[in-house]
């Protein structure tokens, strides 16, 4: 299959390793990967903060870039959530029926990585090897917007060498919430504090998730506390093999 | 006509400008394919009703019609009841002989003080709902005014097995015609009065009857 990477501005700029892992993984599974260089940002940060007018050109851009793609796959549940939940509302706000149509057209072809692998391609074992103790934090948007269910866990359970440990109160938000983490920094920290306590309690070396935004937030505290726990995106674990480890 | 009324209705109509004038309320579809008719057999339903009433920490007894009088007398003795409030229309032949009976009559109703001083009340009921362990009183004969089952600290309620339906939906539908026609006051009772206001730990009995006993009677 020809897969277009929707890498997201956040991963492009801050977490290139995740993007590289996506490429390795998808190519290893026998797919052709392409990366349209015209892509920038899905507009989630603007939209969720209230700068919704500013989102209109970004939605236009997205459908122009990915309109013809066979499948669009992203390593970010929240950016895919933005496309699926709010793009039609942006089109409505723009008062542009053509854009609305284009959005409706493209939405069914946009996927988050784990749902794409498990639900779309029907793959549960990607042949990865990752000999580490890992706990998985299901991000809110993967759970409650995309409803990926246990797709990420199915994939992780089939990774060889992995010691997957359950995260207590896993479904609780980590407290990131985009600008929330800055605007309501105190509340965000209170939430993060509990998440970190649970992660550390598992004794895992690695905390995995489907969103680097939440992982940056969680990882920022893990690092500050010198906890020795590393935040790692799901894609990077799935891309690992005996050769790379 | 009050101006507040005109203003409110005016604001509502202005707020709903986008609703097409020809739209009828029924045009908004409401799915009704939730459970409306129970599937359990009579034995199951009565069993479940007994179990669920019991889970609210009410006392539940299953008896035969012939045991009614003796059981009532026994329950009242066990609860230390000396003065028992009795609603209009409650079958006299079931009542114990050795108690002070406070009869509530239409032309001579018991005062709130009298009820407050009584030790308990005995009533029948209009319906039972197994799914939730709920008794429904509709102020009919043998059930009395609402206040009767409110002020005494002990409520002994009698229900025939045949009065128990399975589901909440069946319960509400049972009263549909009477509410639409006469509109009697209805009280749904699920266990004794309770509160969880302190640290969410449930305490049975705040303002209503603190002890609820239910006699489920077969014929």
């Amino acid at each position: 299959m020809q897969i277009s990477l929707f890498i997201t501005c956040f991963n492009d700029t801050l977490f290139p390793e995740t993007g590289k892992a996506m490429v390795q993984l998808l190519e290893r599974l026998g797919h052709q990967v392409d990366f349209p260089l015209e892509q920038t940002c899905c507009g989630q940060m603007h939209y969720n903060t209230g700068y919704q007018e500013e989102t209109i050109p970004l939605v236009r851009r997205f459908v122009e870039v990915f309109g013809e793609a066979e499948a669009v796959v992203a390593p970010s549940a929240s950016c895919v959530g933005m496309v699926r939940e709010f793009y039609s509302k942006v089109a409505e706000r723009a008062g542009d029926p053509e854009l609305a149509n284009a959005v409706e057209e493209v939405i069914p072809r946009v996927f988050e990585l784990s749902e794409f692998l498990v639900k779309e391609l029907g793959i549960e074992d990607v042949g990865a090897y990752y000999p580490h103790r890992v706990t998985y934090h299901p991000t809110c948007h993967s759970l409650r917007v995309l409803h990926v269910g246990d797709a990420p866990l199915i994939l992780l359970r089939n990774v060889r060498g992995i010691d997957l440990v359950e995260l207590p109160a896993a479904e609780q938000c980590c407290g990131f919430g985009g600008t929330f983490a800055v605007k309501n920094a105190d509340t965000s920290m209170a939430m993060l504090g509990d998440k970190i306590r649970h992660i550390k309690g598992t004794g895992a070396e690695v905390c995995a998730a489907a969103d680097n935004s939440c992982l940056m937030h969680i990882g920022g505290a893990l690092k500050r506390q010198r906890s020795g726990v590393e935040p790692v995106h799901l894609a990077e674990i799935l891309a690992s093999t005996e050769e790379t480890e | 006509m009050s101006s507040a009324k005109d203003n409110i209705l005016g604001s509502i109509r202005a707020a709903l400008r986008e609703v097409p004038a020809e739209e009828q309320p029924e045009d908004i579809e409401v799915p009704r394919d939730y459970r409306k008719q129970g599937e359990g057999g009579v034995i199951d339903i009565v069993e479940r009703f007994a179990e669920r009433v019991g889970e609210y920490k009410a006392t539940v007894n299953r008896i035969h019609e012939e045991e009614l009088k003796d059981t009532i007398a026994e329950s009242c003795r066990g609860e230390g009841v000396e003065a028992l409030a009795v609603p209009d229309g409650f079958p006299g032949e079931w009542l114990p002989d050795d108690l002070t009976l406070l009869q509530d009559k239409k032309d001579a109703p018991l005062s709130h003080r009298e009820l407050d001083r009584s030790d308990g009340v005995i009533t029948t009921c209009a319906l039972g709902i197994a799914q939730t362990g709920t008794l429904v009183l509709d102020a009919g004969a043998g059930q009395g005014r609402r206040v009767l089952t409110l002020l005494p600290d002990y409520h002994l309620c009698i229900i025939w097995e045949s009065q128990i339906v399975e589901l909440v939906s069946e319960g509400f539908r049972y009263f549909e015609a009477s509410v639409e026609q006469e509109g009697p006051p209805l009280t749904f009772i699920s266990g004794p009065s309770a509160t969880s206001d302190i640290e969410l730990s449930r305490v049975e009995g705040v303002h209503g009857p603190r002890r609820l006993e239910v006699l489920i009677v077969s014929r």
Partner: protein, 496 residues
Amino acid sequence: MPEHNTGADWINVDFISVTMKNKKKTPTFEETAKAYLSNTQLRRNIGHATHTIREKRETVVGEMPDWEILREAGSQLKKRVMRHLDDYLLQLEASVQEAGGKVHWAGDAEEANRIIADLVKEQQAEEVVKVKSITTDEIGLNQALAGEGIRALETDLAELIVQLAEDEPSHILVPAIHKNRSEIRELFRKKLNQQELSDRPEDLAEAARLYLRKKFLNAKVGISGANFAVADTGTVAVVESEGNGRMCTTLPETLITVMGIEKIIPRWRDFEVFMQLLPRSSTAERMNPYNSFWTGVTEGDGPREFHLVLLDNGRTNVLADEVGRQTLNCIRCSACLNVCPVYERTGGHAYNSVYPGPIGAILTPQLRGLDDEGAASLPYASTLCGACYEVCPVKINIPEVLVHLRGKIVDRKKREGGLKTKTDPEHVGMRWMGRAFTKRSRYERAQKIARLGQKIFVRDGTISNLPGELSGWTAMRDLKPIPKQTFREWWGDRDE
């Protein structure tokens, strides 16, 4: 002011004047939350309570195979009501009148309080007993009645606790959720003159029972809210646990019920939907102990006079917003509070409103208007985690409304413009990035600028200290610096 200053008749005059004066100036969520976050006892009380009820709810909802259909039915029924609210209100008015009740219309809090005070005075009552009603808290009824020399006595255990403590409710269902048993014992010892009191909830409830029983028996007027009112039959419902609701709606000769205009349901039959959704979502029981349904007045049974006060107080503004309208579906179950990770940590008082939690974060700003700075901070008091929407029994898409309101707030800021907006770092940043994202070349240049610009903050390969607005981030978290190569640069190299 009443002469005998014991127990519940304390009136917090300071509080009233402060709220009146600062009507447009409630503090923001972030300002208030700070203090509550560092209150250990409160964190513990609320954490314990919300987790307890959260688990119970999951169990009782889990035993309903048709839960999702019921949710959809509840949501659609409310939609039906909202889209035809004028007709339903007129229908309700007619059916209540036909059943012997009187109907009053109140555009705002002041009008409602006026109507109620006059009705109480007509009965020459100096004291009224009240069932827990957030609507009456919303309009400040108790304070208004106090101003007329009428004592309004709260009879729900939690509301009594809040009233005796001269405190504010912090939860829709359990208003005293922020207090634990020993705090309540201290309060009752002082205010109810109960020196020999243990801290067992049973004993505390008993103390309240004894105190209030006398009040119930003497009350001439009862005041209640309404959970539902049936347009078709005029039947009003109060759903409760303690029996104080039955006391207030049965014993007094006069009953006054205040309800928001959105509380209507079309027909009696619709209870089969709402009375399954509400108890399981609210107290997490199959059915709560007592539900009272009354239709007007019944001769020889209960009050001789029944008054229904229909309250707008901003609700028609909510109705006018097509996205925000669904907020009016709310049946006040409080399930969204119990699952909210923000509420769990800050408690209800941080919201500065009688409607706390996720539902409050969308209802309060719509009722009060976005020019109230405090109210306008509420839509941001959420991570958009979506837990609230998942449990809402009438499917209010709270995250959607939160984001919608944020949009309105920013649009308003842009319209008003001014120096404050132009120099607001968030505003400047959003505009700048918005522009950068519209063109590939600009975007790639911005990536490079950011990578260069961060240099002054990077120490030992990490960012631990950021200035200004962003200091909130680095107060507890390190920030990963932008790596040397972006993904697209790597991709470019790879292709070559």
